[in-house]
Subunit: 90 residues, 2 copies
């Protein structure tokens, strides 16, 4: 079924202790290529039928009102999921 | 600075109580367009210099070994961030 993806990340000026902890772990494991790590959230909203502009607008509203805490987080993406071709996961 | 994005989602066969809670909240708010919600994580790994295939391979290894709990989660994407043109966020 079609899926709308919402991505939420901590604002740049906000400390991300969870990300800092992962970054520290990477250094301890001698993986020094990565200078910083930030951790956010990824929501998949499943819809019935095609993804219309109205649905995207609705998703954007939900993202800002419900899914993200806009005091400390930014909604960085609302839209369709990547196509399968883009998948580079495990 | 260049950023490698890692996306991790709960496996399809695993219950996602957090997502279910959001889906329930949406129904109570009369937003019935969305039939299900699943919540995963999005990591941004900052690197110095260009994103090479070696760095991506390293990131893929880290994603599977450290960032995802592969018993209950899948790494669905490891790669470059979306270009700014794709951004449809708030």
């Amino acid at each position: 079924m079609p899926t709308i993806v919402v991505e939420v990340m901590p604002k740049a000026e906000i400390l991300d202790p969870q990300g800092k902890a992962v970054a520290g772990a990477l250094v301890r494991l001698d993986k020094n290529e990565f200078t910083s790590v930030r951790i956010g959230k990824r929501f998949e909203l499943t819809v019935e039928g095609p993804i219309t502009d109205e649905l995207l607008a609705e998703a954007r509203e939900i993202a800002n009102d419900l899914l993200a805490n806009t005091v400390i987080e930014d909604v960085i993406y609302v839209g369709e999921a990547r196509s399968a071709d883009d998948a580079q996961g495990a």
